[in-house]
């Protein structure tokens, strides 16, 4: 099938993707043949029991890893054929990450954390500062620019992470249990932020355990034993 066809509607497409981890002599099959297309501008929640392969799928979608088998087409590139530097470039230019444990650099300020992708994209410092400030006010943290992550609440830290994920204006936002370390009230606030971003056109793919969090997404994918069990929501 022609790669151009994938581009029409799909932001990312997995095609019979397998992922096998080698644990000593034992092989662990984290994904055993997954095929799915994530449409541009869609909002997905991935659910399923622990160990079902949710994070594995998200890491593959995030170009942090390559499939053991099958193809992953992102932005017209077959990711399975890219080398390490090219994977880095895909992450840098097309993807944004939000993690459960925020993963901010502790010694850097809010502003510097948001600027991190821009640093690697080689932005002019002034333009980069300006963009970081814009993003900080977008997530409501314009008055916390010079704070360190430790001085912020969990919700605020996750907002910084969202702002950082948006800095490179990615096509897809990937979130692995973004509310997992937050209380339900703060979690819902973050979800509202993601929903808003999705309404502005970003494709959002999120792993979660919680039904009420998953309810924010248009599509809910249930996984089991490294396979997609079913998909709920409008399609």
């Amino acid at each position: 099938m022609d790669i151009a066809n994938y581009l029409n509607g799909a932001a990312a497409q997995l095609e019979n993707v397998h992922k096998t981890y080698q644990m000593g002599i034992q092989q662990v099959k984290a994904l055993s043949g997954v095929s799915i297309a994530f449409e541009k501008g869609s909002f997905w929640a991935i659910l399923g029991p622990s160990g079902s392969g949710k994070s594995t799928m998200l890491n593959l979608l995030g170009c942090l890893d390559r499939p053991s088998e099958g193809r992953y087409i992102l932005n017209g590139h077959d990711v399975s054929t890219l080398d390490d530097d090219q994977l880095s470039e895909m992450r840098l230019n097309h993807l944004g990450f939000i993690f459960q444990s925020f993963n901010l650099i502790p010694q850097s300020t809010v502003e510097e954390n948001i600027q991190l992708p821009l640093y690697y994209q080689g932005w002019d410092p002034e333009e980069s500062t300006e963009r970081a400030r814009e993003l900080a006010s977008k997530v409501g943290l314009e008055d916390r620019l010079n704070h360190r992550p430790m001085e912020l609440s969990g919700g605020q830290q996750q907002r910084v992470a969202v702002a950082r994920a948006l800095a490179n204006d990615p096509a897809i936002l990937l979130a692995d249990e973004p509310t997992g370390n937050l209380d339900s009230h703060t979690g819902i606030e973050i979800m509202k932020l993601l929903q808003e971003l999705n309404q502005q056109g970003k494709t959002v793919i999120m792993v979660t355990h919680e039904q009420d969090i998953a309810a924010f997404a248009q599509h809910r994918m249930y996984m089991k034993d490294g396979l997609i069990e079913r998909i709920e929501g409008m399609n």
Binding site: D84, E89, L92, F97, N103, L116, P125, E127
Partner: protein, 422 residues
């Protein structure tokens, strides 16, 4: 859109190092002391060898010095068999040297006599050297007052004398001595000039003008005093007949010095039955001194190398700990899109900044220590620009060599695993 990337990378490195000021400082100390001791040791070594080399250079690297010496058999026979021992260089030898060797530009004969010198009330035994004006071309010493011997003195066989500072001191004479009359033995001489000596000289290297008190024209010395020297040694009178005590031969270039010296040796062997002369070549001494210096530098270099190695291992140790400590940060940077190369650069810049800063502080120390040594112990030291450049270069190299492994280790972390790291 591309701003000066390297300035930013260095800034980031400095910022991370400043997060742990004490740790960074302690890590740096190894290089500080390594570099400091390299420079200081080289400065002391350079100072000592410069002194030795200067001393030898004063002898003239283009000169060959041939001296009269009593042969060993003569030494033991003198008192037993004859009252007079005859040995040493001959007036003819000087002429022969000049005629035989085209490479010899110049020869200077030296005839020594010991005479009582009397200047006004003061009388002292003086070591007087009869020589030609060419002496003063070869053994260049600054003139203190008056003039040196001139060709005219020689031609007219004038009774003129040039004192050295050594002689001046013995006679308690001042600068007003110029023009006064000095009695040497039974003869009267006009003092026409005063020259400096070579200065304090130690070791076994002797300059030809060491301990000379006065110079007179050689033909005057020969005519007035003859070739026979009478010595009163513990009651026994001994007599020696020596024509010339020394001949200094100046060769046209340093390349010919050693060949000429061996030529002179074979020539003298032909004309002297006994080995009653000694040839010394300042250039050979210079070469030996330089070889010694090289050995010395190699030893110092190895010691310094070891201390820098220790410093480098210290840096590597801390950087490895730092990589472990910052695993998560590395994971974050990689997830966001940093390439392996950029992670390597980041960590490498930190180690190079660390080691170079250590190197610069070490340079300060390396300048201070020799200064203090000279100030307090009076030892000569020479801090060469080369040693400074070398140390700085080495300290940067230490940063790169010992930083590369931790940096590569950091870059090879799997981002997924690194992100999960606690």
């Amino acid at each position: 859109m591309y701003y000066n990337k390297h300035i930013r990378e260095v800034k980031l490195g400095v910022k991370n190092l400043l997060l742990h000021k004490l740790r960074s400082f302690l890590t740096m100390l190894g290089v500080v002391f390594g570099v400091g001791s390299v420079i200081a040791m080289l400065a002391v070594g350079e100072g000592a060898s410069k002194e030795a080399l200067d001393r030898i250079r004063k002898l003239g690297s283009q000169n060959i010095i041939i001296s009269s010496a009593k042969s060993i058999e003569e030494e033991s026979q003198t008192n037993v068999r004859s009252m007079m021992s005859v040995y040493g260089l001959l007036y003819e030898d000087e002429i022969r040297l000049r005629v035989t060797f085209p490479m010899i530009k110049n020869t200077v004969p030296v005839k020594e006599v010991r005479k009582e010198g009397r200047l006004g009330e003061r009388a002292m035994e003086l070591r007087v050297v009869g020589t030609t004006p060419r002496w003063f071309d070869l053994i260049q010493r600054p003139l203190v007052a008056g003039r040196v011997l001139a060709q005219l003195d020689f031609e007219t066989k004038s009774n003129v004398v040039v004192l050295t500072e050594h002689g001046v001191r013995k006679l308690l004479a001042g600068q007003n001595t110029i023009g006064q009359t000095l009695r040497l033995g039974g003869e009267y001489f006009e003092v026409v000039g005063i020259v400096q000596n070579a200065g304090n000289i130690g070791g076994d290297i002797q300059t030809p003008d060491q301990e000379i008190d006065a110079y007179i024209p050689i033909n005057v010395a020969r005519e007035r005093y003859g070739d026979i020297l009478t010595k009163n040694l513990s009651g026994t009178r001994s007599m020696e007949k020596v024509e010339l005590h020394q001949i200094i031969a100046e060769v046209d270039s340093t390349e010919h010095v050693e060949a000429t010296a061996s030529g002179i040796e074979s020539m003298l062997k032909l004309f002297h039955k006994k080995e009653d002369y000694k040839i010394s070549v300042p250039l050979t001494l210079l070469r030996q001194a330089e070889a010694t210096k090289r050995t010395f530098n190699i030893v110092l270099g190895s010691i310094a190398g070891i201390s820098l190695l220790v410093g480098g291992i210290g840096i590597m140790n801390i950087m490895l700990a730092s990589v472990t400590e910052r695993t998560r940060e590395i994971g974050i940077r990689r997830a966001i899109g940093a390439k392996k190369k950029q992670i390597i650069t980041q960590f490498l810049i930190e180690t190079v900044v660390l080691s170079t800063t250590g190197g610069l502080i070490g340079m300060g120390l390396g300048l201070l220590i020799p200064f203090l040594i000279t100030l307090l112990a009076g030892m000569p030291t020479v801090v060469s620009a080369f040693s400074l450049a070398l140390s700085l270069g080495i300290s940067m190299a230490v940063g790169i060599i010992f930083g590369i492994y931790p940096a590569i280790r950091a870059s090879n972390l799997d981002p997924i695993v690194a992100l999960r790291h606690e």
